[in-house]
Amino acid sequence: MPKDGGIGASTKRREDVRFLTGKGRYTDDINIRGQAYAWFVRSEVAHGTLNKVDVSAAEAMPGVLKVFTAADFAGVGGIPCGWQVTDRFGKPMQEPKHPVLADGKVRHVGDPIAVVVAETLDQARDAAEAVEIDITELTPVLDMKAALQPDSPKVHEELTSNLCYDWGFVEENKAAVDEAFAKAAHVTTLELINNRLVANPMEPRVAVGDYESHSGNSTLYTTSQNPHVIRLLMGAFVLGIPESKLRVVAPDVGGGFGSKIYHYAEEAFVTFAAKTLGVPVKWTSTRSEAFISDAQGRDHVTKIQLALDGDNNFTALRTETYANMGAYLSTFAPSIPTWLHGTLMAGNYRTPLIYVNVKAVFTNTVPVDAYRGAGRPEATFQLERLVDKAARELGVDPVALRRQNFITPDQFPYQTPVAVVYDTGNYHATMDKLLEISDHAGFEARAAESKARGKLRGFGIAHYIEACGIAPSNLVGQLGARAGLYESATVRVNATGSISVFTGSHSHGQGHETSFAQVVAEMIGVDASQIEIVHGDTSNTPMGMGTYGSRSLAVGGSAIVKATNKIINKAKKIAAHLLEASEADIELKDGKFSVAGTDKSVDWTGVTLAAYVPHNYPLESMEPGLEETAFYDPSNFTYPSGAYGCEVEVDPETGKVQILAFSAADDFGNIVNPMIVEGQVQGGLAQGIGQALLENCVYDENGQLLSGSFMDYAMPRADDLPMFKVDHSCCTPCTHNPLGVKGCGEAGAIGSPPAVVNAVIDALHRAGRTDITHIDMPLTPSRVWAAMNA
């Protein structure tokens, strides 16, 4: 049994006390005396020439301090992109300008044109209606393939076309891959769409800018997953403010799922306007605004092919994907369909030759960037749908075909043909575990029972791999990242032994305050209640890269381990001095330092007090105090994997799909808090099932967002979901981080969509409809019915 509050204990989340009692302090709870309110005037058309913005009437309205337009940002940089992809031909991607406010052109519905700042929100909103905008509408660019035709209108005049990049990976393998296809005994082909999603965190985005004229210091309070990244991007590239004069605070944040990673125009705006006007400026997104201004997710159109030899071994894989970038490059957008997607195309399989082609395209839609899983769900969906289709074409069991081609446990570390090296894993074990917990053996009986009720039951499997804990800075630098991807921690032991941990990670629902404390409690042997975790404020945390890509425990937690080890080393030296023993003989156990083989000991507080009241202390050889900072840069990604099984029932009369059971057998390496891990998996499953059955971001032929509110954008609700069976007893610890952890935040959203779709196809095939080989997500009742009645 793990010690309560230590590693392995399902300690209840300490942060939930404030969240559940309404005591959380979110950005919208921050109100600074004298603050003014910003209201954004946004484009109502998808594509147009901005002839004139007349703010005179609006500026004359009551309470209005100023109406800002692009002209006010003449001396200011644009919103930067944090990743540069190099194309197949060795050329850098096409990178358009991204002004804070639309300048000369509007490029998507929601593109900000002007901002009214007024004393009250209602005044700002009233005045916004008086801003006169003259736009000449242009034909919107919406379909990605049409956008690449030479006669297509251009989203950005300064670029040569709507192509951001044409990426090939691994370009040198292309000929060999094609040759393998020519020799294949069987080729399976699948065309599919990975539907565009709106992240919809419960808390919409908020930004409050504050400026102190006497010091020249700016502060931005913002709903961010990574305050240091925002400070760097906004300070260095947009507003030209040195770090010493800019503080970014991301207090409690109500979910992000990727959409709060990026640096947004509204953040730069409030910071800039607060300084210009000399008053704090607050902006709170409405839900309607979130639909047209938060970066959206996915939106890939793919053709994928698998080559097999006569014995059903995978011999080659090739894919061609069109990836929608939207109207501008959001912060990490170029990396998602490339390095976070192409590198995962080996999946769990030994496929020796792989070629991935991705064309990233600009369209007149909201920018697209990472959303829970980011590239990896797209890779997994293609691959796991394709393997299922291949099994059906070959008439073999989809489980058996997967097993036959799995990388075997003895092959790790495994070099894939798509650059990455999997350190460890055991895919046969997770598959076995899944079949066990999902009672796969009993499926036929359940299917018969459904049939008797006139329903079609199906079972779908998906096995995923993901790369988490992003990752070695030198590697990502070579791949085009314009940032490092280490993490940082400062562990400050206080005089009476309590511990403050300052982390560069950021929690927006993940439970870091609980699980990070468990790590330190375990290492030192003090009670977790003695440990506080501080995050989210650039003024008191070391420069860190924030939270996304399931990196917090693997990278941020490792930084904490490193800093804590430094603390322990120093504390042992102090203990050795106090106990008049050799440092090598000092042992730390349960918060007590003792001399090996004796009954001499000093407890934790004896040492911490000595560090800060150094009366009996080796001052000549050691500094007083007990505070250490560490930066941890991982040597590899981590590779969580797992087998997911979905059991559905299709109503043949209406096409409605009901999920009856969903089982997940994951290998996350070591687990710090099983309850938090289970919560993360369940949340991910809900989002993945949401993508598979419900969620769809749809634009009409004019570029208007049809699914622009919850009336039309279907979020998953509790009664759309079954009770989940989640197991993480399969464990191959990560070999290169000190905790042996892999990350669990995205797995659910990665593995579940193909499992759901495979289950529906299975149900239809069992009912004799073998002609239906694919249905695009979301598998709404009308789509399933249409497929059955085509």
Partner: protein, 262 residues
């Protein structure tokens, strides 16, 4: 939301008077009106609340069936109509979520006549009478197409009188996002014959399916409508379903409603 005046009269007469002023709009549960005000699509000068009028709330058994005050919330209908008219209580219990049901009212729903709302199908399917401050309107004369009704400017619904059928059922197929009716069918069997009213499907709002009514009046079994079909041409087509799909659902749900009513 813009500023507005708020009045809460306690009699129908006072409400009618208040509504005669310039820019006055009736407010019942506010579940439709308030969201449109927040989006500034609706900017009334005066809101006249109808929820403080005793004679407009409550569920009671009257001579001509079940009488429901127009300002009665869905939750009250769900809780109290069951003893007299289970299908109606069941319909009310399936509207929106608990918050919507404890605020939203039958009068508001009927005045609004959303093409995907549930109540219009029960009213038309039951052949109910809509009582206003000025007159009584038969259900067949009341619904004039999407968001359009026989109500005059300033006229308020005060009560709805439902004849009680021998058997009835409402079957709703949820639109996945809003959970309004993607299509909903209300079937009611009276001694005089069967009525079938369908919501969510037609571009003209709630409608009666005459052929199904005739067939079911002859034989109240799902099989009776097997040979019938509706055309999807004039049905709503949107991202949740084509007209053809809705036309198909009309038939499937009608059969299910008959089965549930039996």
């Amino acid at each position: 939301m813009r500023d507005f005046q708020f009045v809460k009269p306690s009699s129908i007469a006072d409400a009618v008077k208040a509504l005669s002023s310039e820019g006055a709009v009736a407010l019942s549960g506010g579940q439709t009106l308030i969201p449109t005000m927040k989006q500034r699509l609706n900017t009334p000068d005066v809101l006249v609340s109808l929820t403080g009028i005793a004679e407009m709330t409550g569920v009671c058994r009257g001579d001509s069936g079940l009488h429901i005050g127009a300002a009665t919330p869905h939750a009250t209908v769900a809780a109290e109509a069951g003893a007299h008219y289970p299908a109606l209580a069941c319909l009310a219990a399936g509207i929106g979520d608990p918050a919507v049901r404890s605020r939203g009212t039958i009068g508001g729903s009927l005045a609004n006549n959303d093409p995907s709302a549930c109540y219009p199908s029960a009213v038309l399917g039951s052949g109910a009478v809509i009582v206003t401050n000025a007159r009584q309107i038969a259900a067949d004369d009341y619904f004039l197409g999407m968001f359009s009704t026989a109500l005059e400017e300033g006229e308020i619904i005060t009560e709805v009188r439902f004849p009680i059928p021998e058997k009835a059922a409402y079957v709703k197929f949820d639109q996945p996002a809003s959970r309004f009716a993607l299509t909903g069918v209300f079937v009611a069997k009276f001694a005089s014959g069967v009525r079938v009213a369908i919501t969510g499907a037609s571009n003209d709002g709630v409608f009666r399916w005459a052929e199904a009514e005739a067939a079911l009046s002859a034989s109240f079994t799902p099989d009776a409508i097997e040979g019938l079909s509706l055309s999807g041409d004039d049905m709503i087509s949107d991202l949740h379903g084509t007209g053809a799909y809705r036309a198909h659902l009309c038939k499937v749900l009608t059969k299910r409603a008959v089965l549930a009513a039996c």
